[in-house]
C-alpha cells in the first residue's frame, strides 16, 4: 500500500485555524512517503524549536511539549530522543543537520525548526527531512498568537501526519459526548485528546446521542426538553436551535452530509428512518419495514446507510443502498448487534455486540461482511464506537472500571486507554471529522 500526499500551500490552513494572518512560506515540492501497511511505527526525531530570548524559549518549550503529546496520542510514531549532535546552532538548515547521527539512532524522519517573535506574534518555522536521502519533505511557517501555541503545534502535527500517512489526522477534530456530571445527562464537546471541554446543552432533562455535521457547523442530538425525545439541531456559529416539529419520538441521529441528517421518527406510527434538513424540515423517509429501524451511519459518499433493524427479530446491522433502494444484512455473528459506525475511509463498519454473558464488545467488519474482527473482550460493556477522522483510532464507552467512561484505541484494538479524567459517567462519544 502506498500513501502519497502532496504538500499544499500552508496559506489556507493557517487562515482556517483562525490564527492571525502572517508570513507563510511553504515549499511546493511533491513528496511520496512509502510505507507498508501494518509496518511498525514511524521513527521520528523531533527537536525542540531553536529560540533566542527568554520569551521565545518558553514558547519553544510549550510547542515541543504540545507536539510531542499530540504525536504520541496518535500512536503512529516512535519518538526517538534527539542525538546530542543532531543539528548545528540554528537547527534549521539542511547543511547543519547530522543525518549520520540520525540514521545511527534509527530515525526515518527528522523534524526541527525555530520559533521567533514577529509583531507580537509567534512564528514557528518547521522543516521535516527524510533522513535516508537527507531531503526536506516539508518546510512551512505557522503564525499565531501567544495564546494559540497549542493549535500552532497541532497545525504542524496535522501536516506531518497527513504527509506521512496520506490520511486526515486527529488534530483539529472534536469529540462530542454525553455526561451526567451536572446531575442531568447533557451534551459536552472537547478536543480529540479531551482538552478544552465545554458543556453544549443545558436542558436539565435528558440530552442524548450527539453528532457533529461533517463541516462541524451543526450539532444534532436528541433531547427531552419538550417532555418527549425530539431531534434538535444546534447551529454552533449562530447558536440557533431547531427541533423537528413532529409527534412521536425521535432517536439517534447520524449525518449523511452537511445538508441532511437522518434519524428515527415515529410520527407515522412505526419507527422509520427519515432524512431531515438542518432547518428541521423533513426531506424524505428512507426505510420502510415493520419494527425497529435505528442508528443511521453513512458511507463517506452518502450513498449507503448502515443501520440497526429488528426486521429479522433480534437486532442486526443492515446496509441500505440509497440509490438502488436495496437492503442487505451485514451481521450474522451474534444475536444483538447495534451501534454501527461507518469508517471515514469507507471500508469498515464498527459496531457493538451484546454477548450471552451480558458483556458488550466492539467489532469491526468490512462493508462486504468479510474480515470480522473483535477489538474488546473481557472488560464488561464496551459500546458506542466512533472513528477518528483518519480511521486509525476509535473512541468508545467502557464500564471496565465501574462507571461508564470514554476510552480510545487504535483500529485494531490496541492501545486501549481512558480519554478523559472527569467525574460522573461519560457515554455516547462521537468523533468529528477534522474541522476546517
Amino acid at each position: 500500500m502506498r500513501y502519497c500526499k502532496e504538500i499544499f500551500s500552508g496559506v489556507f490552513l493557517v487562515m482556517a485555524l483562525l490564527l492571525l494572518p502572517g508570513q507563510v512560506q511553504a515549499n511546493g515540492d511533491d513528496y511520496i512517503a512509502i510505507r507498508k501497511e501494518g509496518s511498525g511505527k514511524i521513527a521520528l526525531v523531533l527537536s525542540k524549536p531553536a529560540a533566542s530570548g527568554g520569551k521565545e524559549s518558553g514558547w519553544a518549550e510549550r510547542l515541543d511539549v504540545e507536539s510531542r503529546s499530540g504525536l504520541d496520542f496518535t500512536g503512529l510514531f516512535s519518538l526517538i530522543p534527539p542525538p546530542l549532535n543532531v543539528a548545528g546552532p540554528r537547527g534549521s538548515s539542511s547543511q547543519s543537520i547530522n543525518f549520520g547521527a540520525l540514521n545511527s539512532v534509527g530515525a526515518e524522519f527528522y523534524a526541527g525548526g525555530a520559533v521567533v517573535q514577529k509583531s507580537g506574534n509567534v512564528v514557528l518555522s518547521m522543516e521535516v527531512y527524510d533522513t535516508l536521502g537527507g531531503r526536506p519533505i516539508l518546510r512551512k511557517t505557522y503564525t499565531g498568537k501567544e495564546s494559540d501555541l497549542r493549535s500552532i503545534a497541532h497545525a504542524f502535527c496535522a501536516d506531518l501526519v497527513e504527509l506521512l500517512t496520506g490520511r486526515p489526522s486527529v488534530f483539529g477534530s472534536k469529540v462530542v459526548f454525553v455526561s451526567n456530571r451536572s446531575g442531568f445527562k447533557e451534551i459536552y464537546m472537547c478536543d480529540y485528546d479531551g482538552h478544552g471541554m465545554r458543556q453544549m446543552t443545558n436542558t436539565r432533562s435528558l440530552a442524548l446521542t450527539p453528532v457533529l455535521s461533517p463541516d462541524g457547523q451543526h450539532l444534532a442530538y436528541t433531547d427531552y426538553a419538550s417532555g418527549r425525545p425530539r431531534l434538535s439541531i444546534l447551529d454552533l456559529a449562530g447558536g440557533k436551535r431547531r427541533s423537528v416539529a413532529r409527534s412521536g419520538n425521535s432517536i439517534d441521529p447520524g449525518w449523511r452530509s452537511n445538508a441532511e441528517v437522518a434519524t428515527t421518527l415515529s410520527f407515522q406510527g412505526d419507527q422509520e428512518i427519515y432524512l431531515v434538513r438542518p432547518d428541521g424540515s423533513l426531506a424524505r423517509r428512507v426505510t420502510n419495514s415493520r419494527g425497529i429501524d435505528l442508528s443511521p451511519s453513512f458511507s463517506p459518499d452518502g450513498n449507503k446507510m448502515a443501520f440497526v433493524s429488528s426486521r429479522t427479530s433480534a437486532p442486526q446491522i443492515f446496509i441500505l443502498d440509497l440509490q438502488t433502494g436495496q437492503t442487505k444484512r451485514l451481521t450474522y455473528n451474534g444475536s444483538y448487534n447495534t451501534q454501527p459506525s461507518w469508517s471515514p475511509q469507507g471500508d469498515k463498519i464498527a459496531y457493538s455486540t451484546m454477548e450471552k454473558n451480558g458483556e458488550i464488545n466492539i467489532f469491526t467488519i468490512n462493508t462486504d461482511g468479510s474480515s470480522l474482527r473483535q477489538l474488546t473482550s473481557g472488560s464488561r460493556q464496551n459500546e458506542s464506537p466512533s472513528w477518528s477522522p483518519g480511521g486509525d483510532m476509535i473512541v468508545f464507552t467502557s464500564s471496565r472500571q465501574g462507571q461508564k467512561k470514554l476510552f480510545v484505541m487504535n483500529a485494531a484494538g490496541g492501545g486501549q486507554r481512558r480519554l478523559l479524567q472527569l467525574e460522573g459517567e461519560q457515554m455516547q462519544p462521537s468523533w468529528s471529522l477534522r474541522l476546517k
Partner: protein, 152 residues
C-alpha cells in the same frame, strides 16, 4: 418531630380500630389518619404492565392490567394518560430507546382495541434512562421492563 408523629400514629390507629369495631359515632380528638382509606377493590385502578427481555409483546398478566386500565379510562372519560416505555439496563441505550417506545405503543394499541380513544393516550420512551428499581439482577430488570401509566 418525626418520632412524635410516629408515636401519635401508633396510638391513633388502634384507637380508630376500636371505635370502628363498636360502631359508635363519637367525636374523636385525634388527627386524621395519614393514609387515605383504600379504594373499594371493585373499582379499576391504573397500573403498570411488564415485559419479557427484548420483547414488546403483551404478556397474559399485562393483558389483565391493560383491561383494568381501559376500564379506568372509560370510567374517567375526561382523563388523559401518558404511557412511558421503559427498559432494563442490559443492551445498548439507543436500541432500548426504540424498544421502550415499542412497549409503550403496544400497550396503547391494546387499549385502543379495548375501545379507548387513541387521542387520550400519548407515548414516550425513556429507554434505560429512568429505571424504577436499582440493581443488576433479574428482579430489578423485570421491574424495569415496563409501560408506566401516568395520569396527565
Amino acid at each position: 418531630m418525626k418520632r412524635s408523629m410516629f408515636l401519635l400514629k401508633g396510638l391513633c390507629v388502634p384507637a380508630m380500630l376500636v371505635l370502628g369495631a363498636c360502631g359508635c359515632r363519637t367525636d374523636v380528638v385525634a388527627p386524621e389518619p395519614v393514609q387515605p382509606a383504600p379504594a373499594p377493590a371493585a373499582a379499576p385502578a391504573l397500573g403498570d404492565v411488564f415485559y419479557d427481555f427484548d420483547q414488546a409483546s403483551i404478556r397474559m398478566d399485562a393483558a389483565e392490567q391493560l383491561s383494568q386500565n381501559a376500564a379506568w379510562m372509560q370510567e374517567k372519560s375526561s382523563k388523559r394518560v401518558v404511557i412511558e416505555g421503559h427498559c432494563d439496563e442490559r443492551g445498548t441505550s439507543e436500541y432500548n430507546m426504540a424498544l421502550g417506545e415499542r412497549r409503550a405503543s403496544m400497550a396503547k394499541e391494546y387499549m385502543v382495541n379495548l375501545g379507548v380513544e387513541p387521542e387520550r393516550m400519548t407515548t414516550v420512551s425513556y429507554g434505560e434512562e429512568r429505571p424504577f428499581a436499582a440493581g443488576s439482577n433479574e428482579e430489578a430488570w423485570a421491574l424495569n421492563r415496563r409501560a408506566h401509566f401516568v395520569e396527565e
